[in-house]
């Protein structure tokens, strides 16, 4: 009964989405008052899809095995948390979640977009509704989650054990929040092309939505990478796997979009480029969905190896991207070009940022799709892995990172490059000192490592150079006065500073684990000792225990540093009965600076077990950096100018002040 309710709500949502799309986009041409339907439709749409998704979640929570989806992906012995997260741990459920998030962003614009001009809001919601129509149709026609099974079996087939993990359970919702969130930027771009107007106000509206999506995507990718780190048992955190790349591409282009939207907002330049970026960022999100959902790539992510579904998503992708580009070709030439600037200026810096981010995106795109294209063309099979990206992606990204601290110091329109560089003196000095120290301290290590650490320090310290300048720290202002000024800086400045510092921390983490990881692999028995770096690992014993739906072998290892005990680590090997799959649960002890990482291997049969122990210097900083970047995004999101909305003439004075400040 509940499932039927969900099914019915989904069908109703299709009807409402048709109205949400049709009324403003088509009806508005004949009768402008029809456009007002968009807002209530978007709200209703959100309500109906929430109902539908709740119904499915309920079916999973109570293990309703009369639904074939629940049978295929759940089991009565699973912990409740994973029963619930199992609702989106499969193709159908995750696509329903996708659609729900789409409606969520549409609903958010309907609820919180009062400061938008009515026609723009209606058109944004119309485009959003059109995307909704295509995905609800996709659900109902190819991936209906509410199909019944008669007779119902007594139990289900279980969920992929890999997905029974907190990080992976919540990785898809955040990832989708990013993918789908970029749909708003797309809808805004298409609506702006329909309206024929792109101005500072438009950029100011589009940016917070993009920023919210970007934060969600960053968190989603970080979670996936963290999961890979602790679950795959080898301490690798990024494999350039096509599925990872599928999420990285919209992230890179979305990052470019965040930066170019600033130029549109502050200076009115880069309008057309920003529209294109909005279209392509969402296009890449759809490509990501296509790659993962179609089964083109064989992977744990591809629950559905079903070409029909792939072709359907490809059709949706083509329709929206080609349609938007056609509209762009027709309308963009009419956009007024504004914002003249000198070659050395903040504008140019942001253009270079966009150029490098776009080139990086194209590199990942080519690396991901080239093997597929080549295979389709002449059957040749090649692999594109880390060594390729180290030679292509890294040389594009490193110059970008080098320029990150410089950009914010350059003024709009025309900047003083020399003056800006002088303000980075402290950052340069810090990078030099730390880099040199590292080179001495870790002599004999990889030559790139000190340079990489220096880059991280440059980013970390350089990020604050702009802020220090603004609050006149060390420039005559007393510390209290400087702090007071810092307190009154716009939140967007704080956000940017925090996010840029976050990249620096992440860079240090990446360089650390890539350059200096130490590894010990030995077969040892109870009582044996393994010495790794400063740590003494004493293998105590291996016991077994029964989890809710798995059996496990768990080792106990005492960790001592310089003779002082710092903890007991318990690496596990689990075996999930229902799906007869083994998983490894690495034990990780983190000092905040480095991780001790232990994996329990197989018993050798002679009373010893294979142990893999690693010390991963700076590894936690990768994810700490990512979280700090997200925190920066959230701080920036709370900036007052997004709450007060578009500037109106009466506030001209305030606007001028902000223009100077930001």
């Amino acid at each position: 009964m509940i499932a039927e309710l969900g099914h019915f709500a989904l069908v109703l949502a299709l009807v409402v989405a048709l109205i949400q799309a049709g009324a403003p986009l088509v009806g508005g041409l004949f009768n402008p008052s029809l456009m007002r339907l968009a807002v209530p439709a978007a709200r209703l749409q959100l309500g109906l899809l929430s109902l539908s998704f709740l119904a499915l979640t309920y079916a999973f929570a109570v293990s309703d095995f009369s639904l074939s989806l629940v049978v295929a992906n759940s089991h009565s012995a699973k912990p409740l948390l994973y029963k619930i997260t199992g609702a989106w741990g499969n193709h159908e459920g995750s696509m329903l979640l996708w659609t729900l998030i789409l409606a969520f962003f549409g609903g958010a614009v309907a609820f919180f977009g009062q400061n938008l001009p009515d026609s723009l809001r209606a058109r944004v919601l119309g485009v959003q509704g059109l995307i909704g129509v295509s995905f609800i149709l996709f659900l109902l026609l190819t991936s209906n989650p509410f199909l019944r099974l008669d007779p119902a079996p007594f139990d289900g087939n279980g969920l992929n054990p890999i997905l029974q993990d907190p990080a992976l359970a919540f990785h898809p919702p955040f990832l989708y929040g990013g993918y789908v969130g970029f749909s708003i930027a797309f809808s805004f771009a298409v609506a702006a092309l329909l309206e024929g107007k792109v101005d500072a106000a438009w950029a100011r509206w589009v940016r917070p939505w993009t920023l919210a999506a970007w934060c969600s995507l960053t968190l989603g990718i970080a979670m996936g990478s963290w999961w890979a780190y602790y679950e795959l048992g080898w301490g690798g955190w990024w494999f350039w796997d096509p599925v990872e790349n599928a999420s990285l591409m919209p992230w890179l282009l979305g990052t470019a979009l965040l930066h170019s939207a600033i130029v549109v907002e502050k200076r009115g330049a880069l309008k057309r480029w920003t529209l294109l970026l909005s279209i392509f960022t969402f296009g890449l999100s759809l490509i990501g969905t296509f790659l993962v959902r179609s089964g083109v790539l064989t992977s744990v992510h591809a629950f559905a190896v079903d070409p029909e579904r792939g072709i359907a998503i490809l059709g949706i992708l083509t329709f929206f991207v080609a349609g938007a580009l056609l509209l762009y070709a027709l309308r963009a030439p009419n956009l007024k070009v504004e914002g003249i600037f000198a070659p050395v200026s903040r504008e140019t810096a942001l253009i270079v940022n966009n150029l490098l981010l776009t080139a990086a995106t194209v590199t990942v795109f080519v690396g991901t799709l080239y093997p597929l294209a080549l295979d389709a063309l002449n059957g040749a099979k090649i692999s594109v892995g880390a060594p390729f990206y180290n030679l292509t992606f890294v040389p594009i990204i490193v110059p970008l990172l080098l320029l990150v601290p410089l950009g914010p110091l350059l003024g709009w329109k025309r900047a003083d490059a020399l003056g800006a560089s002088q303000r980075l003196f402290a950052a340069g000095l810090a990078a030099l000192i730390v880099g040199t120290s590292v080179a001495v301290w870790r002599a004999g290590g990889p030559w790139g490592a000190p340079l990489g650490i220096a880059l991280g320090v440059w980013l970390l310290v350089g990020g604050f150079a702009d802020m220090a300048y603004r609050i006149r720290l060390f420039r005559g202002a007393s510390l209290m006065e400087a702090l007071r000024k810092a307190h009154f800086l716009p939140r967007s400045i704080w956000g940017m500073t925090i996010a840029h510092a976050g990249i620096g921390i992440m860079v240090i983490g990446i360089v650390g684990i890539s350059s200096w990881r130490v590894e010990r692999i030995e077969a040892i028995g109870p009582g044996d000792v393994l010495q790794i770096e400063d740590y003494t690992l004493t293998f105590l014993n291996v016991g077994s225990y029964n989890g809710p739906n798995f059996t496990a072998e768990r080792g106990e290892v005492r960790v001592e540093k310089n003779g002082r005990e710092i903890g007991i680590m318990r690496p596990e090997k689990r075996f999930y009965k229902v799906s007869s799959m083994p998983t490894t649960e690495a034990a990780i002890y983190t000092t905040g600076i480095e991780d001790i990482y232990i994996v329990l291997g197989d018993a050798t049969g002679t009373g010893t077990w294979t142990f893999r122990a690693y010390v991963n210097p700076f590894a936690p900083w990768i994810w700490i950096g990512a979280v700090i970047m997200v925190a920066g995004g959230i701080v920036s999101l709370s900036d007052r100018r997004y709450r007060v909305g578009a500037p109106v003439r009466a506030k001209a004075v305030e606007e001028t002040a902000e223009g100077i400040g930001a």
Binding site: F239, A359, G367, K381, S383, G385, P387, E522
Partner: protein
């Protein structure tokens, strides 16, 4: 047959107690040779994994390949010969870094081409702005006036 040989080989390899290996017992005793094996392993794909190198994977097939690499190295092959040997058996698919040949010109070329063309477009577009229209920096008088405004607001 190959498996039998590999197994025999694995058994013959002395147990390493110093570590620095992928599985105890897999490692070569000669540190120099072992290091070469590790380096080569990192560029070879585990055929049944998600873009992981054989050095990074615990799949049995990855282990077989690791042993094969060590076998060839012990037999005196150079790095290039080892790679050629493995590619001859498993195809180009096994290489994580695709070779630069007619099939992959575009793969390697596109990033550079995009960067060059994009760079040229940006360069000429920025230069296109006529000099006369370029904004002037603030004059000294304007700077003073601006400082006054700012100080007024802060006071």
């Amino acid at each position: 047959m190959i498996r039998a040989v590999l197994l025999l080989l694995a058994l013959m390899l002395p147990l390493s107690t110093t570590g620095w290996a992928v599985d105890p017992g897999e490692a070569l005793t000669d540190q120099g040779l072992e290091e070469r094996a590790r380096n080569l392993s990192q560029g070879l794909r585990c055929l049944v994994c998600q873009n992981q190198s054989i050095d990074d994977s615990d799949a049995p097939l990855a282990r077989d390949l690791r042993l094969l690499v060590r076998e060839r190295i012990s037999a005196g092959d150079s790095d290039v010969e080892v790679i050629d040997f493995i590619v001859a058996r498993y195809g180009e698919f096994v290489l994580l870094k695709p070779r630069f040949n007619t099939q992959t010109y575009l793969l390697w070329g596109i990033p550079i081409i995009v960067l060059l063309i994009g760079g040229l477009i940006v360069f000429f577009n920025i230069r296109k702005t006529p000099l006369a229209e370029r904004p002037e920096a603030l004059s000294e008088a304007e700077k003073l006036r601006l400082a006054e405004i700012v100080n007024d607001r802060e006071a």
